[in-house]
């Protein structure tokens, strides 16, 4: 005889051991959350304060006196700041363009060819990333003196302004940016499937066509990433610019440094907020491009 027994559905009370473990887990979660929040506050509070006080309706950078955009207006009217902003952009654009091309070529040489002295060249290529900015700045300064490049300037008209940019600053920026571009591009190159290039050459593409139609498009995300990094570093650079600029040439960071010597005003906050916004925009662009990269299927399995 087989009796059909219904399965029991009674819920039993939680055991002591289980309860202890549950509470432990909850406490740990709470503690870690609090710690996380504190860490972020520590990082971002100064930035938030900086931005807030750039809108302060007073000369004070410590006491809040109401909202105002006066400092931004004043910043826009300060010819010195406008010129140094354009100087910064000009140096960044030119040095990024040059270092992106040279850095990409260097990365390809290091990754694709085996030649005598490659390891030494490799180490030298990355040196600018490692050595202190100040050492690099002094080396460059010496180089400009000895080579006769000096502080000769490139005169251009841009946005109705007359700029005169020392070649030394551009060369200095190129010198450190090449390394960063090369690192980023090389990472991409190392992941790239070489059979794609073989496939191209199997399909009657010569070396030139293979490069333009396959290698370069595949490397593009790396090259753009490297260029954005170079652009950001160039905009942010202070030490090397300061040493290689010669008299009278200011980029934005150098200009801010000059202003600070005369006391911190909310105008400096405004300029800094502007630079911050620029950097953020660049980061956002690079994140956006990387997402497009994942969707667009540049990666292959």
């Amino acid at each position: 005889m087989t009796a059909v027994t219904k399965p029991t559905t009674t819920i039993l009370p939680e055991s002591r051991a289980s309860r202890q473990e549950r509470i432990k887990t909850q406490l740990a979660t709470l503690g870690l959350t609090g710690y996380g929040i504190l860490a972020y506050l520590f990082l971002y509070l100064p930035i938030i304060i900086l931005v807030i006080f750039s809108f302060n309706d007073s000369r004070s950078t410590a006491q809040w006196a109401g909202f105002s955009t006066a400092w931004y207006v004043e910043m826009m009217q300060d010819n010195q700041i406008i010129i140094s902003l354009w100087n910064s952009l000009f140096v960044a654009i030119v040095s990024t363009a040059i270092s992106t091309v040279l850095g990409t070529l260097a990365a390809m040489a290091m990754e694709r060819y085996r030649f005598r002295g490659r390891l030494v060249m490799d180490a030298i290529l990355y040196l600018p990333i490692i050595i202190p900015d100040i050492a690099m700045a002094i080396m460059l300064l010496l180089f400009f003196n000895i080579s006769g490049i000096g502080f000769n300037t490139w005169r251009i008209e841009l946005a109705g302004l007359r700029l005169s940019v020392p070649y030394s600053v551009i060369i200095g920026h190129v010198a450190f940016n090449i390394s960063f571009v090369a690192v980023v591009v090389r990472a991409r190159l190392a992941h790239m499937d070489r059979t794609l290039e073989e496939a191209a050459s199997d399909l009657y593409a010569n070396a030139w066509h293979t490069f333009w139609r396959v290698t370069l498009p595949m490397l593009m995300p790396g090259i753009i990433g490297g260029a954005l990094l170079a652009f950001t570093l160039s905009l942010d650079d202070f030490v090397i610019t300061f040493f290689t600029a010669g008299p009278g040439f200011n980029t934005l960071p150098v200009r801010v440094f000059g202003m600070i010597k005369k006391g911190v005003t909310p105008k400096i906050n405004a300029v800094s907020s502007l630079m911050l916004a620029g950097s953020l925009a660049l980061v956002l662009i690079s994140i956006f491009l990387r997402r497009g990269d994942d969707r667009g299927g540049i990666e292959i399995v």
């Binding site: 191209a200 066509h209 990666e299």
Partner: protein
């Protein structure tokens, strides 16, 4: 004189210390489905890459369509490759992928469009022109790779384990499709695989490779029925190797195994009377008879006596393990043609008989 699409003459390729391909000579006929078969690392890919021009032989010559290739780069050789992982250009659409080779050859736009259309039709991918490779299944990517190569109408198509990345069922389907496709386009295929079944079902001829050497070239039937050495016999299908001493080198060849004299139909070169050799015979070529059927057994040509040690029922047939002496066993496969008829039980004394033409005596080495 016969024309060959591809010829390798004493080709050797060394990578530093490693000799990947050793003194390989091959002649591949026009329109043939030719397979390179062998275990991992035996040099199949290297051989194919030398034909394509990705590697230059350390010594020896490669001829395509009668022309010595020498140092010609891949883009100057009249062959195309289907890569193991397809190597489709991820930043191009299916159409752009397939059109790439024609564009590089400066074919005009209208003809490119027509030929790409045809090629995609051939591999049943019409309508997928604007997809990116990532939006295709493995089987579809495989077809794009095929179309991309075939659209150029090469003399020879080189395929490196093109079905390796597909699951079993798809692989079986693609085997048939590929074979039909080859018959349809009439292009010579050189096909690399390590799957013996695939090679047997698809090829006109097979070259079996091991450790950089080509050990035997022949039709699937020849490779299976008439292996010339131990490696080939062992790599393709299942076989019995029984070590013995050669008694007679003339036909029929006689060898003593487990104290009994048996006959075989073929003897490998270089094995002499009195030396140790190996008898090779496929399990399905052996027939079992009851120990009492003495006269009948010897009508088969040759027979050895032993005991049934184990039986395994496999549906269509039954496998028997026959013990000849303390060290020697024979595997026998008998078809189950009669209902409810189990031939032999464990412990039975039986005669294992075969036609000497099916047995071969091979060198004990390799």
């Amino acid at each position: 004189m016969e024309r060959f699409d591809v010829e390798l003459r004493k080709v050797t390729k060394r990578f530093g210390e490693v000799t990947a391909v050793r003194d390989v000579t091959l002649q591949i006929r026009s329109g043939e489905f030719f397979s390179l078969l062998g275990p991992s690392g035996c040099g199949k890919t290297t051989t194919l890459r030398m034909i394509a021009g990705f590697e230059i032989p350390t010594s020896g010559q490669i001829l395509i369509g009668g022309q010595v290739q020498g140092h010609l780069p891949p883009h100057k050789r009249p062959v195309n490759t289907v890569f193991q992982h397809y190597a489709l250009f991820p930043h191009m659409t299916v159409y752009q992928n397939v059109a790439f080779g024609l564009e590089m050859q400066k074919v005009d736009k209208a003809e490119i469009a027509a030929r790409v259309g045809q090629a995609l039709e051939l591999v049943h991918l019409t309508g997928m022109e604007n997809r990116k490779p990532k939006q295709l299944s493995g089987g579809q990517q495989q077809r794009v790779a095929l179309a991309r190569a075939l659209v150029n109408r090469p003399k020879v198509l080189l395929l490196d384990e093109p079905l390796g990345a597909l699951d079993l069922k798809l692989r079986k389907n693609m085997q048939i499709e590929l074979k039909n496709l080859q018959a349809e386009v009439g292009i010579t295929f050189i096909y690399v695989t390590h799957d013996q079944e695939e090679a047997l079902t698809m090829s006109d001829r097979i070259a079996v490779m091991n450790r950089g050497r080509v050990l035997q070239v022949g039709s699937p039937e020849v490779i299976y029925e008439q292996p010339e050495n131990r490696f080939v016999a062992d790599f393709i299908g299942e076989t019995n190797f029984v070590t013995g001493v050669l008694q007679r080198a003339g036909l029929p060849v006689e060898i003593e195994v487990a104290g009994q004299l048996v006959q075989a139909g073929w003897l490998a070169e270089g094995v002499r009377t009195g030396e140790t050799a190996v008898l090779s015979i496929r399990p399905e070529k052996i027939h079992l008879l009851p120990g009492s059927a003495n006269g009948e057994a010897h009508q088969f040509g040759t027979a050895v006596s032993g005991q049934v040690e184990r039986t395994i029922y496999l549906g269509t047939d039954t496998r028997y393990l026959i013990r000849l002496d303390a060290e020697t066993r024979l595997v026998v496969r008998m078809q189950n043609t009669q209902v409810g008829h189990s031939h032999f039980a464990i412990g039975d004394t039986v005669w294992a008989c075969w036609n000497p033409a099916h047995a071969r005596v091979l060198s004990a080495e390799e």
